[in-house]
Structure formats: C-alpha cells, structure tokens
Point group: C2
C-alpha cells in the first residue's frame, strides 16, 4: 500500500470504492454500526438530557504538524464544540474529499490518528462518506466531521447567563496551535519546536461540570483565538469582560514567535483550550476541577465579567486598559 495513490474511480461508487472503505477506513474505525456499511447508522441509545449537533470542515495545511494532524484536529474540534455545550459525544460521522493522486499511506495515517483520538474520548464514527476530485481541484484531503452529543439534565451553558462578577478561566497557555502551524510552514529557526495543543476536552469539561454544574458558558477559542471567542460572548450577553494580561498563560516559544512577528497571542487559534465562565465564588472550584484533568494542568483565572460596555478589554501590566478588537480576517489562513 506504501506507494499506492487515490484514483478518481475510488470515489465513484464501484468496487474500488468499496475496497478502499473495507481496506483503509473500516479497519481503523471498526464498530458494529459502521461495519454494516449502510448510508445511515443508528445513534446509540441514551436517556434524559438534550441532544445537540455540531459540524466542521477541516482544511489545515500542512496535513501533519507537531502535536497533531488533520485527522486528530477534526476529532478534537468536533468533540470540543460538543463540550462547549456540556455534551457527552454519542456518535460522530466523517466525510473525506480526496484529491486524485493522494497517497493511500497518508490516508491510512490520518484515519488511524482519527481512531486514536476518538478512542481516547471515547466516541465512535458510525457513518461516513468518501468523494474524490480531479488533481488540482483539491489539496490532498479535506475532512468534515459531525458530532451528536447528549447534554445532561440540569446543564445549560449559554452566553446569556453570564453576570458581572463572574470569573473567566482557561485550561492552559494560548496560541500554541496557530504558532505550531506557522512554524511548520516556515523556518523561523526558533531553536524550540512549537507543538499544537490539539486535544479533546470532553473529560476536562465533564470534570468542570461535575464540580460547577452552575457554570455559565464555555467556548473553545479556535479561529480568531481567545479574542474572537470572548467577543462573541460579550456581544451576545451585553456585559463586558476584562482580562488580566499577566494572568494569560503563553508558552515561551509561542511568546517569542509572537514578538518576532508582531502577533497577539489572544488572536491566535487554539485546538485544546476551553474558556469557561463561572460565578465568581465558584472560580476556585472550577480551577481545581480543571487542574485535575490532564489538559488543565496550567489552568488559570484570566479575567472577569463587568457591567461596563459589552466589549473585551485587557488590563496591562502597567495598569492601563486596552480594548481588544477582532480583525476582519485572521492572522493566518487554513489553520484548521
């Protein structure tokens, strides 16, 4: 299989497509639902709570980067979107748009990486789809994933619930994913490799909600970073949020890269971070819950909700306050 490549006929519903699915996709994702190879698959039985759904397309370049790849990213992105609603993943689907000539070995590596990430959650891919486009009409592989999850009774996370005095927490340093992609595309000779923070955060959110079921809302700061995620919250809520710059964790090589290129870590994409807003008096309990999860070792309280204008501000180490605005585009295309 090493040097085999995707052909247009792999996508056209004939025997070659069935072989591809049986030989490459099925061995990775094997489960009773998928094994039937029907177009429609049953979502596992469940009780109580509310069902939620999320979908995302992944077009990241390069496909493989320090800390992850497009497959792991797709699983983490979908699981983390479900986690922002406090949902436990019930089932996922995966769609592939392959470019003619894409190495089968790379496809195998990507689906194995998806399997590994999904097993760790755990969640199963119960259905999927594969299409092939002509050489020059794609870029190797695009992945789309959809997840269905169950929000337990009593949990309702929404920006509308935030109140002045609430605390804003994050589970670790910001900007690592975008910095890793940036480094992988260029040679900045930083000496230290920057790794993407790409990680599924279902367990972390489960721990947070066990300790603080009255949590107000959660957001995974992906494209547009912490700035875009919190701006969405303040605009939806009608309150302001102020961050304390000194409290925002940034890894050393990421900070160096940002200084070198004049980038703001608050605007940089993350793929293993969760912003959680909780009542002020629950900040310590939330922090403790985060720190108990592997992805929350460096969790911090980074700011608070105020009753000033509905905008995002940052208190600098010099005691001044700056307003954070979301730029019309991002700093880097195709980061996820």
């Amino acid at each position: 299989m090493e040097d085999k490549k995707i052909l247009l006929t792999h996508g056209s519903g004939g025997r070659l497509m069935r072989d591809l699915i049986r030989d490459v996709i099925l061995p990775a994702f094997d489960n009773p639902s998928l094994r039937k190879l029907e177009d429609t698959a049953e979502i596992p039985a469940h009780e109580g709570g509310r069902l939620v759904m999320t979908t995302d397309g992944y077009v990241v370049r390069p496909l493989f980067f320090p800390g992850g790849d497009i497959g792991k990213l797709a699983v983490c992105g979908t699981v983390n979107d479900l986690a922002t609603a406090g949902a436990r993943p019930l089932a996922m689907s995966a769609g592939f748009i392959l470019e003619e000539g894409f190495p089968l070995a790379d496809l195998e590596r990507i689906v194995m990486s998806m399997k590994e990430a999904a097993d760790g959650v755990p969640v199963s891919f119960i259905t999927g789809d594969t299409k092939v486009v002509e050489k020059g009409r794609g870029d190797g592989i695009y992945v789309s994933t959809t997840g269905v999850g169950l929000v337990p009774q009593g949990i309702e996370l929404s920006p509308a619930k935030i109140r002045p005095g609430d605390a804003v927490l994050i589970n670790g340093p910001v900007g690592s994913h975008e910095a890793a992609i940036l480094s992988a595309r260029n040679d900045f000779s930083l000496g230290v490799a920057v790794r993407s923070d790409c990680a599924p955060l279902f367990r972390l959110m489960e721990a947070v909600l066990r300790e603080v079921p009255e949590a107000r809302c959660a957001r995974d700061p992906t494209r547009g970073g912490v700035a875009a995620a919190l701006t969405e919250i303040v605009e939806a809520a009608g309150y302001g949020i102020e961050l304390v710059e000194d409290e925002i964790p940034v890894e050393e090589p990421v900070r160096n890269l940002c200084e070198l290129l004049g980038l703001d870590p608050l605007l940089m994409a993350n793929e293993g971070k969760m912003l959680v807003v909780v009542p002020g008096e629950k900040a310590d309990a939330c922090l403790k819950a985060m720190k108990g999860a592997p992805e929350g070792a460096d969790a911090r309280v980074i700011g608070s909700v105020n009753d000033r204008k509905p905008r995002l501000t940052v208190k600098t180490p010099y005691g001044t306050t700056r307003i954070v605005t979301v730029p019309s585009g991002s700093q880097l295309p195709r980061i996820c």
Copy 2:
C-alpha cells in the same frame, strides 16, 4: 453583492466571516437554533423510535444543472439516505468549503436552493461551518451535509430481512440524474433536455411505510445506480434478485443517450429514486402508496427476490438472463 467574490479572509474566523454568515447563510436558513450562531445546536425534542445519522460530501460538476444544483442535491441526498432507514429528518447541518474567488451570488443561489429543498421536507439546518481555501485548491464550492432522523417504533429496514418471493419496486425511471450531468458537461445535440430526478423522498417513504410497515429494506440508487444498490442488498442478504428488463422504466432521452454512448441505465446514478423490497403479497399496496406521492407517479414492480445465488440478474425481453456486475469504477466521476 452581484460581483463580489469569496476572499481567503472570509474563512478565518474574523469579522468578514461573521458578516458572510449573517448576510448570506443566515437569511436563507433562518431558524432559532441557527440564529444563535453557536458551534453546537440543539436537535429538536422527539419521542420514541431510534435516532439515525447520515453524512455526505457533494462535489458535483457543473454546480448548476437541469433539475437541480449542488445545494438541492445535498439536501435530497441526505434526506433520502435517512429515508432508506425509514427515518423522519429531525435536523441537518451544512458545511461549505469555498474556493477563493467563488462568486458570492452563486453561493447565495446555492444556499437559497438548499433552503427551498429543506423547507419542502420540512427540515431545518441547525448548525454549519464555512472554510475557504486558496484559488486552485478547490473547485468553487464543496458542500457536506449531515442529517439526524428518527425511525418510528416498529420500523426496521435491513437487507438481512429480504426473503425469496419478495417484490422489488422503484418509484420511477432510472438514470436521469447521471444523464443530466453528462448532458450538461457535453453537447450531444439530443434535442431534448434531460433533467435530473433530484428530489427529496421522505414523503414517499412515509407513505410506503404507512401502508406497508413490514417493508424489508430500501436503498436510494445513487453512485453506481440500481445495479450497485441491489448488489449491496443481495451480498448482505445471501439471496438473489432478478429484475425484469421490460419493467425497468427509463425516460426516452435517457435511453437514447445510453444507446448513443453504450451506457447501461442500471449503472447510472439517480438522486430522486428509491428501491423498496416488500413481501410479495404487499407489492400492490406498496405500488399504490408510491403512486400516491408526487415522486412516485411512474412507480413499478421491477423484480423479485429468489433463493438462487446471491447476485443480481436481469431477465431480458428475449427470455434470456444476464448477470449484472458492478464495475470497479463508475461511468462518470463527480456526479454527486
């Protein structure tokens, strides 16, 4: 908006992306879930039955063709996959991978077409995602849709349930979608325009299952056509299926095109057809139910299940029998 084009920054999480979603996507699909513009949306409450999920990517060329476009196709494809399980659609998601430079007016036309098709079912798009890739890394637009549906209690469609003596029905003439795409890509000077059969079949299947709840299984014969769909059934079931060639409806211009190009209508893709297998004594009831739906006016009993080898055969008008085999690829790439 007429001459505006998609920019890379439309996909990067900033204000331009939010504007695109608010100005183009939201007006078409507007509903309370989507309006929140959160990454995760709630699936409408429902009771009883089993939940199922299906996903598909759409890469059809040309984007607009007689009888439909990539947007209508995406809605019909997902609704019809759910219908093969006997499911009523509860919610859908849509993902777009846009190529830099794609005309905004075309995107608007496509999402309006998706809205129209979804309204007719009815089903709502409750969440979505948009990514943009550089010029030359895509082909205008790729669409991926995922649907979640509810299978009523008592309905269980599966190839494992077919038995010798069962009847095989289809709701109308075969091959029209692939013939329409083929004609749209070339000028065969056929005189008559061939239109795709692209249509959502939820109502048709609902009518069939109301009359014949003991239906064995259903398949929408898309890529690979009736031949691929029935071959899947016979291989999964361990019984044979024999079709009667004279009973298989084919529209005149489609038949002419097939004869001109040496194509077999049984291998050609459909996007508004449903194959249903029912107990032999229920064939008339199923036929009547199909004919009562707008998409079933030309429904026919086209064959039956036998206890011979698990393969698909066709009885020709000359009294002979030929074996239908699924080719390794299809006759045409990117038909859906």
